[in-house]
Symmetry: C2
Subunit: 553 residues, 2 copies
């Protein structure tokens, strides 16, 4: 590589900062310039909601680096408040506008890195330009939201995705009254609906108003509030509004330069983050890459992939012979909402069905560690696999603790092309404070392979038509939390009470967690009944806060 | 399968209970008999230390099942205090002795499951038969230790493996004065020594006496104590002693029956848990199976593998056509000691070297989640791989939180035959409360591939001979916690101070966590120095409780 190699990086947050840092590590002599439109570089954007809510008490921990520290650490020329406005690909130069004094100049490059990021979506709804409607993307945005929290007590959060949920939680943490509005009929629309019931319950438990399946019609300023008029006619009064309705890539400069873009405006890159111009790379929220399971196109505006993509780009620029490719994205993500968490990796059932892919799935319930050890908390895991080859394609988890661990393990499994058989025998760390002899991931593997092998069938959604519903929970539990339309035959008494059931009608077995109902389905199937088990049980299907206890077995 | 298939299970704890339960789920009509020498079946043996210490307050949660509950749930014939004394393989029957009334009978079988477990080792040391010397394997053992904790205040725990560490912690938790003795020169000899320094520090921090590299010469009763005389001459006074010196398989009955045993007396089984007799299966602590990475023979007395092996055996007995094999053992394990944890999966560097396998390894330090989020705790990860193909073969982790997660993810990676390149791009769940944009596992992958690609060399153990030691920590840190024999050049000032170093001598860069020293090594290497980085830094190599803060970058 030439001694005077010039690397120009447009955008200095996750992907851009990683690219510049890696490039410097690989090449002390390169001239590396980083342009950042905003006032801050390499800040911790994932931490913004937590400083709004005060859980991260000091602002300066979010401003990870400054141009000065980056000069010392990496010998970078970082220029904030400088916007790249045009790329001259033939001349290999970029026109840069100084947003402070309005001056312009051209900077030349040998390699150009595009990491401009994405902007929050602000749909053209009447009233959207009210000064009390915020988005949260930069430290400046954060400062404005904090000022609003100090001026008013009523917040409306629009959009219940990852950021929207974090905002709702943190605004409540700060002591505000919070209303959350989501267009889909569930919170966290990235997940399958059943797997979001615990989050929804947790929000309501903390007296956050949750309005689902409703959109914003308009914003109307009144003397005492900014009114959010919903499509349903419902009106929410706010002192301010935070929009978390997703992001769109900031790729106008790439479009103008004639680089290939995807259908939603993302820069298309290959596994080495190369755009359609061999001297221009791109990474982060602005790009579209492959997803890891089926190789389909995917844009994933997340910090982890952005950081790693930036590093791959630098590797390929500076040592293309040994650079290793970005393997594709999974879409692993997690959110904490008060005392529970939920997240996913890979494909959901919904996404599989929307894509017309054959799909099998199962929900299992257990705890994050041995139930006999103090502090055991319920945990629910949904596993999604491709029934054609048994390959695990996705998982979702929710519960009080250990959600991140299970998602991470299954993410690693998906990346390793594991099948449901492989999950049965994962040898995970077990001591009573940390796990179970059979971890919930093993249990998911057992349930999935049992389904594949015909050992049990799952019952789908309620209602069950004319099937006999057999509730096999202990009698005190069934009495306390009765399941309408069912007959209670506690599992240990089932074998002795088969004559209470009509062999001419299908049976659906139900319990709290889906374990005893599976045991019962095995007994009934082997006694000639046509039977399905309500997998996931009452907790996974009906009431995630059901106080029905897990029967021991 | 015949309607009257007879399954006889010898040993009713982890492997035996799992086998019986799975067999019942597969076959309602089988006659399943479980023989257990002790008074309890299917109890939670991993919970025993925690009831001794009182952290698990009630005893009955450990007695997971009884013969009566197992009759109801699984229609099993469970016979406690019944010992199998002889197998007549030709006649397919077992002689069973009733330990209560002394009577004997023969029970016939179609399939026999051997899951007798293992017994604690009690070496023939003078005085070993003193009534105040306990082992901990059964609920009865536990009751005896509890009685001892109520009678005396001075405990000596011998053996600092997983159980020994749990015992030491729990005896301290109960308020006793505890001395821990270990023959090896480190606690938790299963790990590489550096990865145990935090555990050792944590034990001493809690005023547990730790004596390493010393063995027991004899036990001597005196009027006021049971004295433990060590080989070094040291004498520890105890009111009672708990031995945790490992276990030996209870396989005399298998030996007498002529089944093939391994070199240390374990029953040799194949991937379907079959012994050398096709109608006899074995699983759990009594067997030797393959380990997963290199296919070598391995005995692993752990609850998780025992449970899953028992299930595999039942599958193969009852539906051999579709049964899936046990893939082999990894040896994943973890222990909590007060506020820290440590564990491993797969191969350690020590074990690789003892087996004369080519071995590469690196230690990386970070935190369990984003450092800017409150509650970040240091975490240290050691990665071990085979340099011939880059395959990950093992990992060890220690720290305050998130140890189990990293071990589990890497266990899944090893089972999926991941390489160090694959670790770089694991897409793990990231939100500030749960992880980092680049998880410590990604960092380990980065470090390992950087080493493979020649981007940096690791410095080994201190002392470093005539090398120039360059401490690149911030000056206040270096002043407060000086590193003898080093020159302090804080990393941001390094490029401007290259002339302070002698280019004719090798350089070793050092920092707190091994990150800045790597950065410094890159700068120096590109400036013509012969340089190595002290990977793992002061925390990973010298002082795990070093209060030197992680420099941000």
């Amino acid at each position: 590589m030439s001694q005077a190699m010039k690397l120009l990086v447009i955008g200095g947050v996750a992907a851009g900062a990683s690219c510049a840092a890696r490039a410097r590590r690989l090449c002390e002599t390169a001239e590396i310039t980083v342009l950042e439109r905003g006032p801050d570089v390499s800040f911790a954007n994932c931490g913004l909601p937590y400083h709004v809510g005060g859980e991260i008490p000091t602002r300066d921990v979010l401003a990870v680096q400054t141009p000065t520290t980056l000069k010392g650490l990496l010998n970078l020329d970082v220029r904030t408040r400088c916007e790249a406005v045009r790329i001259d690909r033939a001349g290999k130069r970029v026109e840069v506008k100084n947003l402070v004094d309005g001056s312009s100049e051209w900077l030349s490059y040998d390699k150009l890195m595009l990491s401009p990021g994405a902007s929050p979506i602000r749909p053209p709804i009447p009233g959207i330009d009210d000064q009390r409607i915020f988005t949260l993307r930069s430290l400046e945005d954060m400062d404005r939201v904090i000022a609003a929290t100090e001026a008013g007590m009523r917040a409306v959060a629009i959009g219940a995705g990852f950021i929207g949920l974090e905002m709702a939680e943190q605004l409540h943490h700060k002591g505000l009254s919070v209303e959350l509005v989501e267009l889909q009929k569930q919170v966290l629309p990235q997940l399958d609906k059943k797997m979001t019931m615990l989050l929804e319950s947790e929000l309501r438990h903390h007296e956050i108003g949750v309005t689902l399946g409703d959109g914003i019609e308009c914003f109307v300023p009144t003397p005492d509030a900014l009114e959010c008029h919903l499509k349903s006619g419902k009106v929410l009064k706010a002192d301010f509004v935070v929009l978390s309705m997703g992001v769109k890539p900031d790729t106008q400069i790439a479009r103008d330069a004639g680089l290939t873009l995807g259908p939603r405006g993302h820069v298309v890159v290959d596994h080495f983050q190369r755009t359609s111009d061999p001297d221009i790379y791109a990474a982060g929220d602005a790009v579209e890459t492959e997803e890891l399971v089926y190789g389909e196109r995917m844009a994933l505006p997340m910090g982890g992939p952005a950081n790693r993509q930036g590093r791959v780009a630098a590797d390929h620029m500076l040592r293309s012979g040994t650079a290793q490719p970005y393997p594709g994205s999974l879409g692993t993500a997690i959110v904490r909402v008060f005392d529970v968490a939920a997240g996913l990796t890979g494909w959901t059932e919904k996404r599989m069905r929307d894509a017309n892919k054959p799909c099998a799935s199962v929900i299992v319930n257990d705890h994050q560690h041995a139930t006999y050890f103090p502090g055991a908390k319920p945990l629910t895991l949904k596993l999604v696999w491709d029934p054609r080859d048994g390959r695990v394609v996705g998982a979702q988890a929710t519960g009080g603790e250990g959600v991140d661990k299970r998602l991470d393990v299954i993410a690693a499994c998906i990346q390793g092309k594991a099948t449901i058989d492989d999950l049965c025998h994962l040898e995970l760390a077990y001591a009573p404070p940390f796990g179970s002899a059979k971890d919930i991931i093993n249990l998911a593997g057992f349930a999935a392979t049992n389904m594949r092998d015909g050992l049990f069938e799952q019952a789908g959604e309620l209602p069950f038509g004319d099937a006999q519903i057999v509730d096999v929970r202990p009698k005190p539990v069934a009495d306390a939390f009765p399941l309408t339309g069912s007959i209670n035959i506690p599992f240990p008494t089932l074998r002795a009470n088969l004559d209470k059931l009509d062999r001419s009608k299908p049976v659906i077995t139900v319990c709290a967690f889906g374990k005893m109902s599976y045991f019962a389905a095995r007994v009934l199937a082997q006694n000639g009944f046509q039977v399905k088990s309500f997998s996931g049980g009452i907790k996974g299907n009906i009431d995630p806060r059901s106080p029905a206890k897990l029967p021991t077995a």
